[in-house]
Structure formats: structure tokens, C-alpha cells
């Protein structure tokens, strides 16, 4: 637990030449949007995720999590290690509702899925 005063001075947003670069490819969020979110008061990776949807797409942040952490840390003037990772959520990879619904039967897909076994 670390006390964090959200009114502390972090300077104003300064545009950078690579602000248009896509960082979260699933949800198409750019570096500039992530940096602006910090200046909007989103000081943790979890807040950034809820605010912008970074890491909420199909890959669930497996591609962009580290990049975002570095961008946010730099904007706040702290080391990346001080930022807690976002929570990983089940399931580990996307799964059809029909298959998930069958968990009592070991998650087997029915024959419609495989065209008969």
C-alpha cells in the first residue's frame, strides 16, 4: 500500500512525435492517449485499463502490458517497478460460450462444433 496524492504536480502534457504509435493493438490505443490519461489523473495501470480499455482486448494485455507500464512510469517520473501489474482474468484464452457452458462435462464441445465425432 502506497500513499498517492492525486493532486501532486506531474507537469503538463507535452506532445511527442511518436504519440500516434499504437501500443495496445487489440483495442487500438495510442501512446499519446495513454500519456494523456496520466494527466487526466489515471496514475495506476488498472485505472488506465478501465479508462482506455488498454489490455482489455483479445490478447488481454499479453502484448502491451510492459510497454504501457514503461510509458506510464515515465510520465509520472517514477520507476516502472513501482507500478503494480493489472490483474489477470480467467479464462486464459478466449473460449466460446457454448464450450464454457459445458464445464460440468469437462468443457467438451458438442458435436455441432466438430461436425460429429
Amino acid at each position: 500500500m502506497k500513499k498517492n496524492d492525486r493532486s501532486r504536480e506531474i507537469g503538463s502534457f507535452q506532445p511527442l512525435p511518436d504519440d500516434d504509435r499504437l501500443i495496445c493493438r487489440c483495442e487500438e490505443i495510442s501512446k499519446g492517449e495513454i500519456r494523456r490519461a496520466v494527466h487526466d489523473g489515471m496514475f495506476t495501470l488498472t485505472e488506465i485499463r478501465r479508462y482506455l480499455r488498454t489490455g482489455m482486448g483479445l490478447c488481454q494485455g499479453q502484448t502491451c502490458a510492459k510497454l504501457i507500464r514503461d510509458i506510464v512510469a515515465k510520465e509520472l517520473g517514477i520507476s516502472a517497478g513501482e507500478l503494480e501489474h493489472t490483474a489477470a482474468r480467467a479464462p486464459m484464452r478466449p473460449i466460446e460460450m457454448r464450450a464454457f457452458a459445458n464445464e460440468g462435462k469437462g468443457g467438451e464441445l458438442d458435436e455441432k462444433q466438430f461436425g460429429g465425432k
Binding site: N4, T46, R50, A87, P91, P94, I95, E96, R98, F100
Partner: protein
């Protein structure tokens, strides 16, 4: 000239302290900051709003509500939600496309009819419709649906964005937010609650203290000898990958097996129950269980077969601060002048949050009240005989 100690003391003084940065606390902070009152919001989590406000199905629903909550939701839906994005300068993804509560059996139809009669008696535009009529409104419903209640002025919004929009705007207006240092004790001085001591030992002072910390409010209220009877229930939600735009009604079922909607992003967000909500193991963190999401999927597929191949990308859980009578406490406290309670929202807090925040801001500055709070007092709980 002031020495540094005095300066730091002054920094910890404000007109109002709000404990909890959920949608209720942030909304109250915004309406106070808008009127130039100084506000300090204390949040225990390292994140702004890490409880029920961001683990939330997003319903903005008038139908199916206890009549004591009706003045709040009617005020919010009629005068606040439609302009909230504009007011907060951020899209909170509010849709007013109606609420369908679905039934498949005669028992379901009876439950829905009772709910509809109650809501109609409160003056709400809600009616029973047939399965065919429901399929006209939402063509993706299965043939199994035989009846539904329909409230065209209900809707949904994005709870994460709404909560953070209130935070962002309140912060811009000068409200001070401290995360990662939770309130540990409310302290009375000369009979009035006017200090909050945090876990790190910091002392904050204000004329009024609003306690809006979800289930944790119970322990904090106990530090000034007050108890709000509530428990916490684990509620779980699943999220699908983005789907093409299908429908924007808020959905529910007679048996409350699941509820949900399609978001602006395209994903469907469905909350639901396994039947073990009261007895789920408390691991100290609100994690999703293995049995609930599959159970929700089985429920959904029967009503919406078109979604059976939609992929689930995420599941999560959150705690509901479940009050003894399933209705919140929004109240002054006779024994503790200066303290205002706003807790026990029982899973109904998000939809009414703009009106509750407005109400709390009025209570905190002893202003004329827009909404009657007399039914939501902290001392309404009495023994059964």
C-alpha cells in the same frame, strides 16, 4: 508567516472529507467541488474506485426497484443521466433503450406481473408484453421467451467510465484525492465527528464526513459506535469479445439468473448468479469462482442462442454491500453529528449514483434537499417481533 507544520495541517483541512472513491463518493465530491467547497477523498486501495463501482453490471434501471429508492432513480433518469456525459466532458456511454425482463414459464410471468404492478403503482411506465412483442423489440430472443416486462425509459451506462469521469472532473475542480492510505478511524471532538485518522496515522479534519466505503463502511462506522447491518455477497460477471451491434436494451430475467447488455465497444457484459452468493468462500479478494460463469453461459444461451459462439474473454467478481433490507442507508446520524452515511447499496447504487451524489452534497452543506431521504435512515432496522 506559518511554519511548515501549520501549512501541512492546513492542507489536511477541508469542508468535507469523503471516505471511499467509488461512484458515490466521487459523485458527491464533484457536486461539492462544483459549488466551490473544498473536498478531500480518502481511498484505501491504491486505485481510484476498486470496489463495486468498477465491478458492476451498469444498469440504469427504474423497474424492479424498492419504492424507497424510486425518488433517486426517477430524478437521476429524468434530469441527470441524459446530460451526464456533457456535464462531465466525457462519454459515459449512457443508453436509454429500455429494459426487458424475460420469462419462459407461467411462474416467471407471475413474478414479472407482480414486479410490473408494483412499479406501475409508483408511476413508472412499465408493462407486460408477450414473447412475440419482446422479439419485435429484440429479434435475438429465443422462441422459449413467452413473456416479458418492458420499461422503455430504463437503460445502462459504463460504470468504470462514469466513476472515473466523476473523479476526473472533481479533481480538475480542485478536489483532493488520496489513494493507498485508507481511513482507519473516525474521531469525535467535542461530540462532533470531525477527524479521520488514516492507516498511516495522518489526521484529516473537516466540518462533515461522508462515509461511502461500501462494506468497509461497517467497520468505520463502528469506530464511532454505529452499526449498519450488512454483509457482503460475491457477484460475478463475464465479458465477451466484441460482437457486431445487436441490441442496446438492458436485459434481465424473472429469476434474476443473469442480466446484462451490449457495450459501446461491442462486447456483451453479463452478470449472474450461481445460487451460492451468500455462502461463497471469502478469500479476502473478490475473485470469480469456477462455477458461476459457466452457469451464466447456460442461462444466456437459452434466451439468446445467437450468442452461443461468442467468446468469453474475461470474467471477474465484485462484492456487493448487501444491507439487511436490500436498500441503502443515506442518512445523518443523531448520535454522531457531522457524520453522513452512504452505504449498504445492495447492488443498486450505480443507477442512482448521480442523484445520491447530489443529495450527499446537499446534506454536507445543510442545503435544501432535492430528494426525500427520510425512508433511508440508519435507525430503521428493528427486530421482527
Amino acid at each position: 508567516m506559518k511554519n511548515s507544520l501549520e501549512v501541512s495541517k492546513m492542507k489536511n483541512n477541508s469542508d468535507v472529507i469523503i471516505i471511499g472513491s467509488g461512484v458515490i463518493g466521487n459523485s458527491a465530491a464533484y457536486y461539492l467541488a462544483k459549488r466551490n467547497y473544498s473536498v478531500t477523498v480518502l481511498e484505501k486501495s491504491v486505485h481510484i474506485a476498486n470496489g463495486g463501482s468498477v465491478r458492476n453490471g451498469g444498469g440504469v434501471r427504474q423497474s424492479g426497484r424498492d419504492k424507497r429508492e424510486m425518488p433517486f432513480i426517477l430524478h437521476a433518469v429524468r434530469t441527470m443521466w441524459p446530460t451526464l456525459s456533457e456535464e462531465l466532458e466525457m462519454d459515459v456511454e449512457y443508453y436509454q433503450e429500455g429494459n426487458l425482463r424475460l420469462g419462459k414459464t407461467e411462474t416467471h410471468e407471475r413474478i414479472l406481473t407482480d414486479l410490473t404492478d408494483t412499479a406501475s403503482a409508483c408511476g413508472l411506465d412499465v408493462k407486460m408484453i408477450t414473447g412475440e412483442e419482446a422479439r419485435t423489440i429484440c429479434p435475438f430472443l429465443s422462441e422459449e421467451v413467452t413473456s416479458a416486462s418492458w420499461c422503455p425509459t430504463d437503460g445502462h451506462a459504463n460504470p468504470m467510465l462514469t466513476t472515473l469521469a466523476y473523479y476526473r472532473k472533481a479533481r480538475r475542480l480542485g478536489a483532493r484525492f488520496i489513494t493507498g492510505d485508507g481511513a482507519a478511524e473516525i474521531r469525535k471532538v467535542k461530540g462532533r465527528a470531525c477527524q479521520v485518522i488514516t492507516e498511516s496515522g495522518e489526521i484529516y479534519e473537516a466540518d462533515k464526513i461522508i462515509l461511502a466505503a461500501g462494506y468497509e463502511s461497517r467497520d468505520l462506522a463502528a469506530t464511532v459506535g454505529i452499526d449498519v447491518p450488512m454483509t457482503r455477497w460475491l457477484m460475478e460477471v463475464l465479458v465477451t469479445e466484441a460482437q457486431p451491434p445487436m441490441f442496446y436494451q438492458m436485459l434481465g430475467t424473472a429469476m434474476a439468473d443473469f442480466y446484462g447488455h451490449q457495450s459501446t465497444h461491442g462486447s456483451f457484459v453479463f452478470g449472474g448468479t450461481s445460487g451460492f452468493e451468500e455462502t461463497n468462500k471469502d478469500n479476502g479478494t473478490p475473485s470469480a469462482t469456477s462455477i458461476t460463469a459457466p452457469c451464466i453461459c447456460r442461462g444466456i444461451i437459452k434466451y439468446f442462442p445467437a450468442l452461443e459462439n461468442a467468446k468469453i474473454v474475461r470474467t471477474w467478481g465484485g462484492w456487493i454491500d448487501q444491507c439487511a433490507d436490500h436498500v441503502p442507508v443515506i442518512s445523518y446520524v443523531d448520535e454522531v453529528p457531522g457524520l453522513i452515511l452512504a452505504c449498504g447499496f445492495s447492488g443498486h447504487g450505480f443507477g442512482i449514483s448521480p442523484a445520491v451524489g447530489l443529495t450527499l452534497s446537499e446534506m454536507a452543506v445543510d442545503d435544501k434537499m432535492t430528494i426525500d431521504i427520510s425512508q433511508l435512515r440508519y435507525d430503521r432496522f428493528t427486530a421482527k417481533i
